[in-house]
Amino acid sequence: MASLRSFLRSGKTFVILFVVTSCASVFQVNVRDALNQAMDEELERDERVFLLGEEVAQYDGAYKVSRGLWKKYGDKRIIDTPITEMGFAGIAVGAAFAGLRPICEFMTWNFSMQAIDQVINSAAKTYYMSAGFQTVPIVFRGPNGSSAGVAAQHSQCFAAWYGHCPGLKVVSPWNSEDARGLLKAAIRDDNPVVFLENEMMYGVPFELSEEMMHKDFVIPIGKAKVERQGTHITLVSHSRCVGFCLDAAAVLAKEGVECEVVNLRTIRPLDVDTIEASVMKTGNLVTVEGGWPQYGVGAEICARIMEGPAFNYLDAPAVRVTGVDIPMPYAKILEDHSVPQIKDIIFSVKKVLNM
């Protein structure tokens, strides 16, 4: 230190070389933290926003998504509820009627079935029934779809169930950027939003740019994103399966097949335009989802493609890759074979392309 001081005092000019690193900073953020930060920022931004659900406060969230929020915001804004889904979902909707902006957490979406009447009949339909008089600015969120080893009653995907209903917006993020931007958009939206997370994605880290870390970063609800450009076939997916599609695309690229991967981001309203544009470019379509095939998200996409301009560009029938049409079994080998794997996507692509 003393030598440095004397050096500086000596009056000698010197040139200090800076090694300039790339000026854009990136942040490693996992999906859980992305959701947490999004809620934190929205709670801070608007005092009408509050969170209620089982274990969201003192337990820091069953899956730790709301960690730290109760400590920061207290009992008034982070509310632990008894195990009474129908009751607390209804209470949340009533609070939304009367001017607040609740975030209602279902510990998993399986439990939402206890409260589904409040989501559909009290929340989704009210703006229409009242001819625009009564808004319902509520977000219902929680983990959806299969997890690991939690068996039949805890593994159902509800994208198709809620995606069926007019009046709802249904959102299904894949990565941290999706989670952050879509949750903020959902909380700021004046409509009831069903926000389908995925427990197995919570711990997965992704890179977020500085722009994405801005407190007003929102992703528009109702717009899909092309995650990977391709020319031979379109893969349309949502949530965790988007990652599988990208993995499958990487494998297929080695064989000269370039897949275009579309991340739906929103189930309802469905961004048909982006899907159609992609299919019109590639001529082939495979949809990939974790849920059951009958009356599912993939079924809807195929029907829309049939009914629209993209049909004329199809070189082969569109097909769906889905979960197996059974309740989710427990044993690992059975569970692994109940959900779409990367090899299933690759297989289906090759079948469609007649390889």
């Binding site: 209804g90 009533g94 009367a98 625009g132």
Partner: protein, 395 residues
């Protein structure tokens, strides 16, 4: 003095019989100064549950209040009867659950709370829609499904909304957690308002009501839970549906009171008591209003297969809420037969005009079909019945 004036007015009345229509004489020459400005009435004591004391057993009624309550209840009565008529003419369709007989509940509640307080009920909602401020013509036009209806014809009988009035709810019991949620918002916003949350004896066994009781008590929500016990859930009497028919006690750890729902003053005093209780931060309270509906469950129910005509008639003659108020006012010289008759005529005209409006107003434009899906969103496309029909939706 009184007799003298009556004599004079009689003379005038008789004298007018042959006069032509050009001149009009006031038939009743009694001036307002004759009427008693206010009186105190003893009211039935409420049965109490977990309460040391209840509402006062005496109610003060001013002449103005009496006339206002009479006018309101009579309006609701005539409006419901008009709806009955229009339904039988097939001008109203679908569900129509009429409120006649229960007017004292809606009026008493409104008299005891502020317009800034909140209220939510189930599907027998026309009375509350009126007391919460919606005009008769907008209610009837909603029933006939016209664009001038309070929900532009898109809601119907069970889905009418107004400021601080959250309907009109079709799913039995679902409105109770909603009401508790409104109460939570009141508490959260610190505005000293309460939410009156109504349900029927049929709904009283719903699990979600007990879930609401639990959270309301736990968090001390300013929620007044009110069971309108009209003795029948559709065709099932309370004895056949409920192991315990003490609906005011069903809140268990929540204090409750049982109120004569046919007496508008009883209801008013009780709701005042309940609102004070809630506003004091003591938490929720349960009220049971004993009342009766003259009509069946809905217009498709004649209402006599599960109860006797004699029973209905007995209530009409001995316990009608409007007659009770009328008798009180007349016997205490707070009004006159003529004055009330004039009010009846005015109401008749209001109802007739409203019915005319409801019949002649056009149906909603087809452009409206897909509107109001999302709030505050840019216009979007909605699929019609087939892929070639693309409809427009605006907020």
């Amino acid at each position: 003095m009184q007799n003298m004036l009556t004599l004079i007015s009689n003379v005038f009345r008789l004298g007018n019989a042959s006069k032509n229509v050009g001149t009009r004489m006031v038939v009743s020459a009694r001036s307002f100064a004759d009427f008693t400005p206010q009186a105190s009435f003893p009211i039935k004591k409420c049965d109490l549950h977990r309460l040391e004391e209840g509402p006062s057993d005496e109610a003060l009624l001013t002449r103005e209040q009496g006339l206002q309550y009479y006018r309101t209840m009579q309006t609701v009565r005539r409006m419901e009867l008009k709806a009955d008529q229009l339904y039988k003419q097939k001008i109203i369709r679908g569900f129509c659950h009429l409120y006649d007989g229960q007017e004292a509940c809606a009026m008493g509640i409104e008299a005891g709370i502020n317009p800034t307080d909140h209220l939510i009920t189930a599907y027998r909602a026309h009375g509350y829609t009126f007391t919460r401020g919606v005009a008769v013509r907008e209610i009837l036009a909603e029933l006939t499904g016209r664009r001038g209806g309070v929900a532009k014809g898109k809601g119907g009988s069970m889905h009418m909304y107004a400021k601080n009035f959250y309907g009109g709810n079709g799913i039995v019991g679902a409105q109770v957690p909603l009401g508790a949620g409104v109460a939570l918002a009141c508490q959260y916003q610190g505005n000293n308002q309460v939410c009156v949350t109504l349900y029927g004896d049929g709904a009283a066994n719903q699990g979600q009501i007990f879930e609401s009781f639990n959270m309301a008590a736990l968090w001390k929500l300013p929620c007044i839970f009110i069971c309108e016990n009209n003795k029948f859930g559709m065709g099932t009497s309370v004895e056949r549906s409920s192991a315990s028919t003490d609906y005011y006690k069903r809140g268990d750890y929540i204090p409750g009171l049982k109120v004569d729902g046919m007496d508008v003053l009883c209801v008013r005093e009780a709701i005042r008591f309940a609102a004070d209780y809630c506003r004091a931060g003591k938490g929720p309270i349960v009220m049971e209003l004993e009342t009766y509906r003259y009509h069946g469950h809905s217009m498709s129910d004649p209402g006599v297969s599960y109860r006797t005509r004699e029973e209905i008639q007995e209530v009409r003659t001995k316990n009608d809420p409007i007659s009770m108020l009328k008798e009180r006012m007349l016997s205490n010289n707070m009004s006159s037969v003529e004055e009330l008759k004039e009010i009846d005529l005015e109401i008749r005209k209001v109802i007739e005009d409203a019915a005319q409006y409801a019949i002649s107003d056009p149906e909603p434009s087809l452009d409206e079909l897909c509107n109001h899906i999302y709030a505050r969103d840019p216009p979007m496309e909605v699929r019609g019945t087939n892929p070639w029909v693309k409809l427009k939706s605006v907020s």
